[in-house]
Structures are given as structure tokens and as C-alpha cells.
Subunit: 206 residues, 2 copies
């Protein structure tokens, strides 16, 4: 499908939440759901949900709500989750290794398929069914496995260098767990997932 441009990032971030909810309804054989009910179950404003979903088309049926399966399929297609998305993870310290294990048990189309580390002592180690590659293999493995996305889980001081290498290999989308901001050229999407800044911003609400 043609991508609709200029959709705010905050809307895109909510789509997987809608999708997971709809998939839970499907498991319970529920065919339709109102935005009111979705709002209650998801702690979101129903008007917000209707506005978000209307960007992508007219999925609601008057007096009936949304058709669950149809809407779930549409969201899968919008997000591009109808095929497996191969992910490289760089940095298999505590956090990286945990992310890798966690990803293995999630039934999702976003799959970590290769792991890398810059420390020679880590190379060759196994995490689940994956063997840690040296950074020198990055370009080759990214091509071989058709990897499109990467997770950075290295220390702050190594993050920019890793990001540069990933971008050189053609990676366009990065989830960054390193506690630092990385500089990227236009056209590259970086999402920061640094736990420390999350906790610090939450401190405001105390």
C-alpha cells in the first residue's frame, strides 16, 4: 500500500497497542468493538482512537464499532508487519542479552536474527540459538540475512561509532538503548529507549 505521509510519530506509536488489543479480542472470538470500549480497556480517549484510525481509512461501522479482524489486518499492513522484519542487535552485555532472550519468546514479526559485539571475549558465545558475531562481520551478515533494523545496546561512548557502522551497512531504523543521543543523517529514524531518561522524566510526576 502507499504510505500516507506526515503521520505524527505519537500516532504511529499507538498503532501496535491497538493491534495487540485487537489480537487479544480475536483470541476471545470477539468480532466488533466500539471506540468507547477500546478507550476504556486501553486507558485512552475514544475520540483520540477514532481520530488516529480515521487517518488510515474508514474502519468503523455505525452502531457496530470496528470490525476486529479487518482492523487488525489493516494495522498489520500499515505497520508493515505482514512479513518478518529481521533485526540486528549490537552489544550483548546484560541488557542486550536480555533483549535478545526476550525477543525470542515474543510471537512477533520483528525478530532479532543476528547479534554482534565489539569485545573479542564475547564473540562466539551463544545467546539462545544465536552466536555472537564480531563487528567485522556486520556488513556481510546484514546483507546475507536481509536485516533492515538494528538495536544498539552498547555503552554510551561506543554508541555513535556503532550507529555509523550500521548506517554504512544500509540500516535505516535504529532502536537505541545506549544512554546517549546519536547523530544520524536525514532519512535515518532513531528511537531512544534509554531507561535512565525514562525514569528521570517519570520523576516529574511524583
Amino acid at each position: 500500500m502507499t504510505k500516507i505521509h506526515k503521520i505524527p510519530d505519537v500516532v504511529i506509536k499507538r498503532l501496535p497497542i491497538y493491534l495487540r488489543y485487537l489480537q487479544q479480542l480475536m483470541e476471545r472470538d470477539i468480532d466488533t468493538v466500539s471506540s468507547q470500549q477500546m478507550g476504556e480497556d486501553l486507558n485512552l480517549n475514544p475520540a483520540q482512537i477514532r481520530k488516529d484510525l480515521s487517518i488510515f481509512g474508514d474502519f468503523g461501522v455505525k452502531g457496530m464499532g470496528y470490525r476486529v479482524t479487518e482492523l487488525a489486518e489493516k494495522l498489520i499492513s500499515i505497520l508493515g508487519l505482514d512479513k518478518q522484519i529481521n533485526i540486528a542487535l549490537v552489544g550483548v552485555g546484560n541488557l542486550g542479552a536480555a533483549l535478545c532472550q526476550y525477543n525470542r519468546y515474543q510471537n512477533t514479526s520483528t525478530k532479532i536474527v543476528a547479534i554482534f559485539d565489539g569485545h573479542p571475549a564475547k564473540v562466539g558465545q551463544k545467546i539462545g540459538n544465536l552466536v555472537v558475531h564480531p563487528m567485522e562481520d556486520l556488513s556481510k551478515v546484514v546483507k546475507e540475512l536481509n536485516i533492515k533494523m538494528a538495536i544498539i545496546a552498547v555503552p554510551a561512548q561506543a554508541a555513535q561509532g556503532v550507529a555509523d557502522q550500521l548506517i554504512d551497512c544500509g540500516i535505516k531504523v535504529i532502536l537505541n538503548f545506549a544512554p546517549t543521543l546519536i547523530q544520524v543523517p536525514p532519512g535515518i529514524k532513531v528511537q531512544n529507549a534509554d531507561v535512565t531518561t525514562e525514569l528521570q522524566s517519570l520523576a516529574y510526576y511524583l
Copy 2:
């Protein structure tokens, strides 16, 4: 200081990023910085930065930019990071244990000071310098250690029960790594940090 109300969550989320950047400048003995320079270094729009910071007061000096130390101190005060914030972590599987280790090495005022798990086999284990408590001790430990915030890192099906217990103990702010949304009463702040939904929303940008 009196909290200014109705500040958008997206602004609050950027404040720790500004703060870390300013602290990096302080380490390099840089006294002032322009919003232009901040924008370049942080990959953010300078007008956005000026707008964000103007909510909290007039920190800029014409032709000179922001006074780095003054602005950093103000952000620390706004976020409430001028004192240690004690955090409980529930769930010490791979991810929980990694978050705990990670937090130990971050020089930050948001500190995991107690860890809990519902599995008897985990209770009594040590992660770094912390011993895993049984869930039965939650209320007692939260009071004893003056814990204000919690991290949930349990499987999806256990998350709501854990959240309910935390809220019963007086916890008002939760960072939720479980791959599910939790329902909370008004006045409780939950931030979702589920890695799977992060990856799924990033798939859109491929």
C-alpha cells in the same frame, strides 16, 4: 517549587535529554550554549527547545544563549532529581535482572533500591548488591525504604496483579516493561516501555 500544570508529556520526556546534554557541557567546562547549538547536537528543532524551556521560566540571555549550570540546576529541580528517588523493581527474569544491573552503574538519582519476584526459586538470590524479596514483603519494604516509583518486568499475564499490589502500597508512578497495558485508577502515572511495541512501531518507517 510549585509545579506548573498541564505540561505535555512529550515536553517532560525531553527534559532529561536536555539535562544530560547540559551535564556533558559542564564536564567540558562550557558555560553557555545557544538553542541553535543544542538543536544541532541533539537533532532537535531549536525553536522547539526554546519553546520547551520557556514554559519553566526565562533562562536565555540575549546574544549569549543559556547559562549551562543554571539551566541544568533548574531542570534537576523541575524534574525533582535533586534528591534520590527510590525505586522498586518487580520481576527479576532476564530483562528485570539486566535493568537492575544497568541501573547500578548509572550515576543517577533514580535508584533501584529493592527487587521482588513472585517465584519462590528467585527469592533470596542476589543481583548486584540487592537480594530478591518475596512479593509478601512489598508493602513493608516500600514503607521502610520510602519507595516512590516502581518498574514492572514480569510476564504479561502477571502485570496487572503486580500493578494492583504496587498501587495498594502507595506507588504513584510505574514504568511498565510487560508486553500488556495495565489499568490504573486516576492519579497513577504509567509509562509503557514494551520493547515489542517499540519495534513494531519502528517497522512503519522502513
